[in-house]
């Protein structure tokens, strides 16, 4: 049992976080939930319309396009981002000359502000003078019109996301560093080849961390494509090749002033995220015994 003064101290220390959580997360969430059941354009007061917003979403083709775009983005971006983080961590977990410089460059794109990062890629993807197509041309590869061809634009957003994997990289690297070296020495003595050790030892021991990163990255990736879609592709090419859920919500709320409708879409996106995470969890749970250490 905590003494009364101790309890007061804890309360004081927790206060900034709890207040921030309440004001910035919990309160808006409740408001969103309420707004989803209204029609509200910022001028007239909100009008209760029950589940009409959700009914409209169900019939809104643009919403379904945005939903499909978001899901496809996650389907490709999350595994590729994880793979990138894993490869970086396996290349850079050991100490060697200059490793700090490599680790820094692996992490650096992650700390570039979103808008600056997006503007940079706008230049990289430029079909005429962008370095990407100049390089592709030099090696005789295809030179897609990144921002005007729908399929290419979708890939462009995925490609952009593959370089902001600093956090996953650091976490995976720390995990790899935590595996005792003696296990590998034993493997050497026992005649296990490096590929055998990777599949039999390294990957299973890193799996719990990688799964955690997968959950986290799924949530993150649902939201992370907002700035690239807004700045680099502007939701296009026409009509809606890179309109993802966050951009769809933003347009409805802040451009068409349909706050109630946007709130309903937000809630739906939240529920879809929860469902995906739950399905992932169920899949993982079946394999869990093999990973528990």
């Amino acid at each position: 049992m905590l003494r009364r003064t101790e309890r007061r101290e804890y309360a004081v220390m927790l206060a900034p976080y709890v207040l921030g959580l309440a004001a910035l997360i919990a309160f808006p969430a409740v408001i969103t939930f309420g707004l989803a059941l209204t029609e509200y354009d910022l001028i007239r007061s909100p009008e209760f319309i029950g589940l009409d917003n959700f009914r409209e979403l169900w019939e809104d083709e643009i919403f379904w396009t945005a939903m499909r775009n978001s899901l496809m983005f996650i389907l490709f971006a999350v595994p590729l981002r994880l793979l990138g983080a894993l490869i970086l961590s396996l290349l850079l977990w050991k100490r060697f000359r200059g490793v700090a410089a490599y680790r820094t460059s692996g992490y650096l794109p992650t700390v570039v502000p979103d808008v600056a990062y997006a503007l940079l890629w706008l230049w990289i993807f430029n079909p005429l003078y962008g370095p990407l197509n100049l390089a592709l041309e030099a090696i005789g590869g295809p030179t897609p019109s990144w921002l005007t061809d729908p399929r290419a634009a979708q890939w462009a957003v995925i490609i952009m996301s593959l370089f902001t994997i600093g956090e996953g990289f650091i976490v995976a690297m720390a995990t790899r560093q935590g595996v005792p070296g003696e296990l590998y020495e034993l493997g050497d003595i026992e005649g296990a080849r490096p590929t055998y050790m990777f599949w039999r030892l390294t990957l299973p021991l890193m799996a719990p961390t990688l799964l955690l990163l997968m959950f986290r990255d799924t949530i993150f990736s649902f939201q992370a494509n907002f700035v690239p879609a807004l700045i680099v592709t502007e939701g296009g090419p026409a009509p809606y090749a890179t309109t993802y859920l966050p951009l769809f919500i933003y347009r409805n709320g802040f451009e068409y002033l349909r706050y109630g409708y946007a709130a309903a879409a937000t809630l739906t996106m939240f529920l879809i995220t929860a469902v995906i995470i739950y399905v992932q969890y169920l899949i993982v749970k079946r394999w869990r015994r093999a990973f528990v250490v």
């Binding site: 005792p180 296990l183 034993l186 493997g187 003595i189 026992e190 021991l205």
Partner: protein, 351 residues
């Protein structure tokens, strides 16, 4: 069975010299213990034998074959680590069979060998459990079974009992010795514990600062230490050492007077040191120099007396039922037959 030979093996880590030319022959089926304090090079020797490190100079031979440049996998050795190095996500059976599966031995054959090895070391009942569900002693057995299962030429054991509590360590020590007698095999066992070394080894090699100090039967190491270091390192508490002086036909060393003096000719005209083990210090009420009992350590049946005599401290081991009290004054003496002589400058043992 194959023997293991170190021929002039030197190992440098940067500017640190871990081994300075080790020559050591481990006979087939022998249990050789490498013992020494930390930094003596004993673990380096083991890692070199396994091939986990490259030798700087010299060569290593297993069964007459020069394996100096042979990778670990092709040396046919197995190793038991202090931490056991069990794979946490694999069952006991998978751990034991790891090396066989890695070498693509068929499942059925692996299973049979795993079961037989597990039975040999007594871990057959928990083949389907995982390491985190096992006690320290059980993990130890699994590590041993994994070392046995491939029937290697040489077993390398790196402080395998150090992580166990004292009681279990003594038990596993006896069990390990019994296992070696039963299944044979060339074993090199590294430890910093001199008791473990003497009780376990067929022969014992004492190392210090990367140099072999003495190689011999456990008895020889204890009874005829080659130098002051071995004398102090082996035996607990450590041997008492005093500067020796020849005076009027007697030899004085700390509180001890040896009369008549041993032949001065034999010891030569040099500065000598005289050693007397605690168990050879005779403590009485009437004979010898006066000594003051400062501290008593009662360890069950025996008691260690920390004494001060003539301004010099020494330790004596006496039966607990005949112990003095702290603060008592007793008299101490020793027999010439139980005294050790060392060159005071080189530390070399003198007959």
């Amino acid at each position: 069975m194959a023997g293991l030979r170190f021929a002039g093996v030197r190992k440098d880590y940067g500017s640190v010299r871990a081994l300075r030319g080790l020559d050591l022959d481990v006979e087939p089926d022998e249990l050789m213990v490498l013992v020494g304090p930390s930094g003596s090079g004993k673990s380096s020797a083991l890692r070199l034998a396994a091939g986990l490190e490259d030798v700087t100079e010299g060569s290593i031979h297993i069964g007459g074959r020069d394996v100096t440049d042979v990778p670990p996998a092709d040396r046919n050795v197995s190793m038991v680590f202090q931490s056991y190095a069990l794979f946490p996500h694999l069952t006991v059976a998978e751990n034991i069979g790891f090396g066989l599966r890695a070498r693509r031995v068929p499942r059925g054959e692996t299973r049979a060998k795993v079961e037989s090895a597990a039975k040999t070391v007594g871990c057959g009942e928990f083949l389907e459990r995982r390491p985190h569900e096992l006690s320290g002693g059980e993990r130890q057995r699994v590590a041993l079974a994994r070392a046995l299962v491939r029937e290697p030429d040489v077993f390398l054991l790196d402080e395998p009992l150090s992580n166990l509590d004292a009681q279990l360590r003594v038990y596993m020590r006896a069990e390990l010795k019994e296992l070696h007698q039963r299944v044979g095999g060339t074993m090199v066992y590294v430890t910093h514990d001199q008791v473990e070394a003497l009780t376990l080894g067929d022969r014992v090699a004492v190392l210090r600062d990367g140099e072999l100090q003495q190689l011999g039967l456990p008895d020889e190491i204890y009874r005829r230490p080659a130098n002051r270091f071995v004398a102090r390192f082996v035996g607990s508490p450590a041997m008492n050492l005093f500067r020796g002086r020849f005076e009027d036909g007697v030899l004085r060393a700390g509180p001890f007077v040896f009369s008549p003096a041993p032949e001065e000719r034999r010891l030569g005209r040099r500065e000598i040191e005289v050693g007397v083990r605690p168990e050879h210090v005779r403590v009485t009420r009437s004979r010898g120099e006066r000594a003051h009992v400062q501290v008593l350590e009662v360890a069950g049946s025996e008691t260690f007396l920390h004494l001060v005599a003539d301004g010099e401290s020494l330790i004596a081991r006496v039966p607990s039922h005949r112990r003095p009290e702290a603060g008592d004054t007793v008299r101490v003496s020793a027999d010439l037959a139980h005294a050790y002589f060392f060159d005071a400058t080189t530390g070399e043992g003198l007959g």
